[in-house]
């Protein structure tokens, strides 16, 4: 039971939990206490004195933002004394304020403006000269006007407390305090836009939309960010159909108002001038503009002809997980019914499938059993293979909050050195950090399990319930020697034991699994092993505990749940689950196609060997993401029909026979399902660009022409159908209700299910690259995601390009010295597959022996990569290669 106190604010009686600040209690009864430095996200600082209120029996006025409510308190916020105090605080602020509201981007939505209108007379008593700060160049995306600053330090505190970046600092004293970046060069930070959003006045503004708007011109649309699996709620503000800015209101969505650089500054993709505006048809080898009628009819005719000649299984379908649930659902329905094949795959195949498979296998859920809130209130967090700051920044903020505000114990296993840099580094917050090579995740996880077993930390109830399982796992890890684990991870056995002890001690533990695991060979197996860890420590099944695979793309989770995969039907249910097939067949009034279906890599193989004749590709670019060694280009070229629904003329679209212009997330309605399984509404912010149409509409039109009409009036109708198939899907509430592990599945896993593949899961595996000898200049090249981009899509956002416009080869300075390379040097990187030339960047956070290259600019780097396909889950892996590095001549 939470202790509560009763108090009176301006005559309203209210009961609040103990510890609530007076300002928050007042907000609850609808009394707004004016404030500058207070923000619900930040620790009270009480530096602006704007929130003074009168409290009975207290001698002086008190700051409402730092006084906790107490029993029987009587607070008055509107007495003459209080108003006088507000007036004098404002008078001091205005004495130095430039009053340039007409030219300030905050003008019209500025706290200082509002309070001044409320409390101050129109004339000032000050005749002294106002302070004027010389202007220093600040940064390409964020602009400061320090003359306007009210020195509330919200920006500084946000950057430190919430972001953990610490890029801003106050300098100078008194009225001459100025907010600056720490060093003398321009601001170099995470560009999360948080300081822009949190500044109560116009002292920090976005340069991207500078002077383009006045607040009253803007039209708002609450929608969801399209970049990563965190699914932040954003508000896109537009003026006359132009994208002006993105913001996120405090309290809104799963992100609670926080965003990352991609969300805040990456919105210009939708209106990029290269957007396809008309359908294109290949005539005499050239893609030329065509009408919708011509293009669709040609596609339908050719498809029908090919289907008659080669049968439905000569078709393949691939969809990008950036599409809405409605698009994904209709796509798989189109492939299964109109075309009649199970050859369906989505970009969730690149990794998300691995996580979902493991969850389904061990605990019978397809989603997380935890939410972001459980991450925040977790006592122990284990992050495996995820530089969460860069891939899922908002999940990262939840982890930071848990560690910084709630003293959770953080364990990290990642190819990352705990170094202080311009962006925050999750390893710095870790109590136990294992810096491993990308192939060291498995040994490190096995090290933890070995420690659990050898230190007798195995949960007793489990040992009684499933002695066979515990024994099998114990034997498997006992067979591994500590020396081998130490060699493979570079960490001592003691560190594993310490980490395990602090992990098992806690009552609430969450394991986050990142791309380093999911997008790697046997990602599914390692995720299952992590579930083993949670089972062994006894956390599994407890409230607020679970294994959470992080989705990379915004709708990876939705793609799986909508059944846009050969092995899943909407639900997801297994494609060979007879009951589910029967249910679906009844709803669709049509038998589902039989046969196993082909995955992404199998389809490409099929295209190469000629068994696949036609492909529908929606918003996905295999020719651009898979390395050339996979032969995707040649395979796609040999198809008789390649139809692409795309926003831009991508590498894949260039090979197509017909390119149909699709519209972006900013122009369509629908839903996205984020990584924690929360279904959120996407709403259009601007009108359709050119002749582009939503993907589902294109598919619907095609289905009509192909003689099997799937007609819907709007996206909502499709969603209704989804809901009728998956009861309760996306009850659009403020927070998801996570499923509980299915006890039947867990029991069967503990009984027999664990044994399949146990031997492979519990071996250390071969080292992919020798770490000892590096005389041959060999490094492991790892193609990774960075904070400032998401896939290739965001490389068309002009804002993000100002922060990161090209790829660079990031090395540890020690490797740099060893190879005689300095920052900015041009290097030639090569191996047996090819070579590339790029620029060197020295970064302390890259582990020795590793070189990182951003996947967003990897057109050249991909030449060095080889694809291997996971035999169990068909996940292609192509992220790393062993390379030789020399200075370019």
């Amino acid at each position: 039971m939470v202790e509560t106190v009763k108090l009176t604010i301006d005559g309203h009686h209210i009961t609040v939990p103990k510890g609530t600040l007076v300002i928050e209690a007042a907000r609850q009864v609808g009394v707004m206490v004016p404030h500058f430095c207070y923000h619900p996200k930040l620790k009270p600082d009480a530096n602006c004195r704007m929130c003074l209120v009168e409290i009975e029996k207290m001698p002086k006025l008190q700051t409402a933002c730092s006084t906790p409510a107490a029993e029987g308190m009587v607070v008055r916020t509107a007495t003459t004394v209080v108003n006088e105090a507000h007036k004098s605080v404002l008078e001091f602020i205005l004495a130095n304020h430039p009053l340039d509201c007409p030219v300030c981007d905050q003008g019209g939505r500025c706290d200082l403006q509002d309070f001044s209108h409320e409390y101050t007379p129109t004339t000032s008593r000050f005749i002294e000269v106002k302070r004027v700060f010389p202007k220093e160049y600040f940064s390409p995306l964020i602009e400061t006007q320090m003359n306007r600053c009210v020195q509330c330090l919200r920006c500084v505190r946000y950057c430190d407390e919430v972001m953990d970046v610490k890029a801003l600092a106050p300098s100078g004293r008194g009225t001459m305090t100025e907010i600056k970046h720490f060093t003398h060069h321009e601001l170099d930070c995470e560009f999360c836009g948080g300081c822009v959003q949190i500044c109560p006045v116009g002292a920090i503004t976005s340069r991207l939309s500078m002077y383009e708007f006045r607040p009253w011109m803007l039209k708002r649309a609450d929608t969801v960010c399209t970049y990563c699996g965190d699914g932040c709620q954003i508000t896109i503000q537009t003026k006359e159909n132009q994208l002006i800015e993105v913001m996120s209101a405090q309290g809104a969505g799963r992100n609670n108002g926080d965003l990352c650089a991609r969300g805040f500054f990456g919105y210009h993709v939708s209106t990029h001038p290269d957007r396809l505006q008309h359908p294109l048809i290949r005539r005499n080898g050239e893609l030329v503009q065509a009408t919708w009628e011509d293009a669709l009819e040609w596609v339908a005719e050719t498809a029908i002809r090919l289907k008659l000649a080669h049968g439905p299984n000569a078709f393949g379908g691939l969809i990008g997980a950036r599409c809405t649930n409605e698009d994904l659902y209709l796509f798989q329905k189109f492939m299964r019914l109109v075309v009649g094949t199970n050859n369906i795959d989505s970009s969730a195949r690149y990794g998300q499938i691995n996580g979902v498979r493991a969850l389904r296998r061990v605990q019978g859920t397809s989603r997380w059993t935890v939410t972001f809130d459980d991450i925040v209130s977790a006592e122990a967090l284990l992050l495996v293979g995820t530089n969460v700051t860069e891939t899922n920044p908002i999940t990262g903020l939840k982890v930071k909050e848990a560690v910084k505000k709630r003293q959770a114990t953080l364990l990290t296993i990642e190819a990352l050195e705990p170094a202080v840099g311009t962006i925050s580094n999750i390893a710095n917050l870790a109590a136990h950090h294992f810096s491993v090579q990308p192939d060291g995740f498995k040994p490190a996880v096995l090290g933890l399990i070995k420690a659990v077993v050898e230190e007798n930390l195995v949960s007793q109830p489990l040992a009684q319930k499933a002695p066979g399982y515990v024994q099998a796992v114990s034997e498997a890890v006992r067979r591994l020697s500590w020396q081998a684990i130490e060699r493979a991870t570079g960490s001592s056995s003691q560190s594993f034991i310490d980490a395990t002890r602090s992990f098992t001690r806690t009552a609430r533990a969450v394991i986050l699994v990142g791309q380093g695991v999911l997008r790697a060979p046997d990602g599914s197996g390692l995720t299952a092993t992590l579930l083993d860890l949670l089972l062994l420590t006894g956390h599994h099944g407890l409230p607020g505990c679970g294994v959470a695979p992080l989705a990379e793309e915004n709708n990876d989770q939705g793609a799986v749940e909508m059944g846009a995969a050969l092995e899943y039907l909407p639900g997801p249910s297994d494609a060979n689950d007879q009951a589910a097939r029967a249910r679906l067949a009844q709803a669709w009034k049509e038998e589902l196609p039989k046969g196993p279906g082909k995955s992404l890599m199998e389809m490409i193989e099929g295209a190469r060997t000629g068994s696949l004749k036609a492909m529908f590709i929606v918003g996905e670019n295999p020719a651009g993401s898979l390395p050339p060694s996979a032969g995707t280009m040649e395979a796609l070229q040999s198809l008789d029909l390649l139809v692409c629904q795309e926003l831009f003329l991508t590498e894949t679209a260039r090979l197509a026979h017909v390119v149909l212009p699709a519209c972006s997330y900013a122009e369509k309605d629908g839903t996205f399902t984020n990584t924690e399984g929360h279904v959120q509404s996407v709403r259009h912010a601007i009108e359709l660009i050119g002749e582009s149409r939503p993907d589902w509409e294109i598919l619907s039109a095609l289905s009509v022409l192909m003689g099997y009409p799937l007609e819907y009036g709007d996206a909502k109708e499709i969603f209704k159908e989804i809901r009728s198939l998956i009861p309760g899907y996306g009850l659009l509430g403020p927070a998801p209700t996570p499923p509980r592990p299915d006890q039947a599945v867990v029991e069967s896993y503990l009984k027999t299910g664990y044994s399949s593949g146990l031997a492979e899961r519990y071996t250390l595996g071969e080292r992919r690259a020798a770490s000892g000898e590096r005389k041959d200049f060999s490094l492991t090249l790892l193609v990774t995601q960075t904070l400032f981009h998401s896939g290739k899509f965001s490389t068309r956002a002009k804002g993000l390009l100002q922060v990161q416009a090209e790829g660079a080869f990031s090395l540890n300075p020690a490797d740099g010295t060893r190879l005689g390379l300095a920052e900015g040097d041009r290097v030639r990187v090569s191996n047996d597959l090819g070579e590339m030339t790029t620029t060197v960047k020295l970064q302390d956070r890259v582990p020795v022996g590793l070189a990182l290259f951003p996947e967003h600019f990897d057109q050249e780097a991909r030449r060095l990569l080889r694809v291997s396909t996971d035999p169990a889950t068909q996940v292609p892996y192509y992220k790393s290669a062993s390379v030789k590095v020399e200075k370019a001549k």
């Binding site: 340039d100 004027v132 202007k135 006007q145 002077y211 011109m217």
Partner: protein
Amino acid sequence: MSVGALTKKILQAMLFHEIWDAMKVTFKHMFHRPITFQYPREQRTIPDTHRGALALLRYDDGRERCVGCDLCEAACPSRCIKVVSAEDPSLPLQRYASEFYIDITKCVFCGYCVEACPVNALAMTKLYEFSTHDKRTLLFDKTRLYQIGERYIEDGKKYLIAHHQEKDDQMSREYRYYFPQSVLKATQAPPKHLS
């Protein structure tokens, strides 16, 4: 009808009384000062408060007054103003109107825009003759508005004073509030977009 009244009626009819009665007004006007102006040969003196064509003004040193704040656009009841603002390419952070349009065909000459302007960049002039064969020229753009402003600067200033929006020149120079301009720190390289 009595005999007297009848005789009077007959007499009036014989003497065409109604005509004389009507002509009385005409004859009276022959001795009046003429009221009709011989426009355009003759022109009327126009009061300072007159709401004529809009103009954009410059300060005495030639700088554009307008800071591109869009407030006139917001104030205009007939929505005929469009301001496109941007950062001044020569001064960091300085906002200015890169484009400025007033569709004078829609303007109802209410003067709200002048009142809304925080820097008194807009004023109304005594110019009312802008009829044209080409309707397109009635979309006044920034150049045209500044041309009018240069030509009718005196009108504009008088308008502002007459409407109590500005003091006379001498006083206004002391009284006027300028937004602080950004001063670049000398030790710093100029920002990328200016170099």
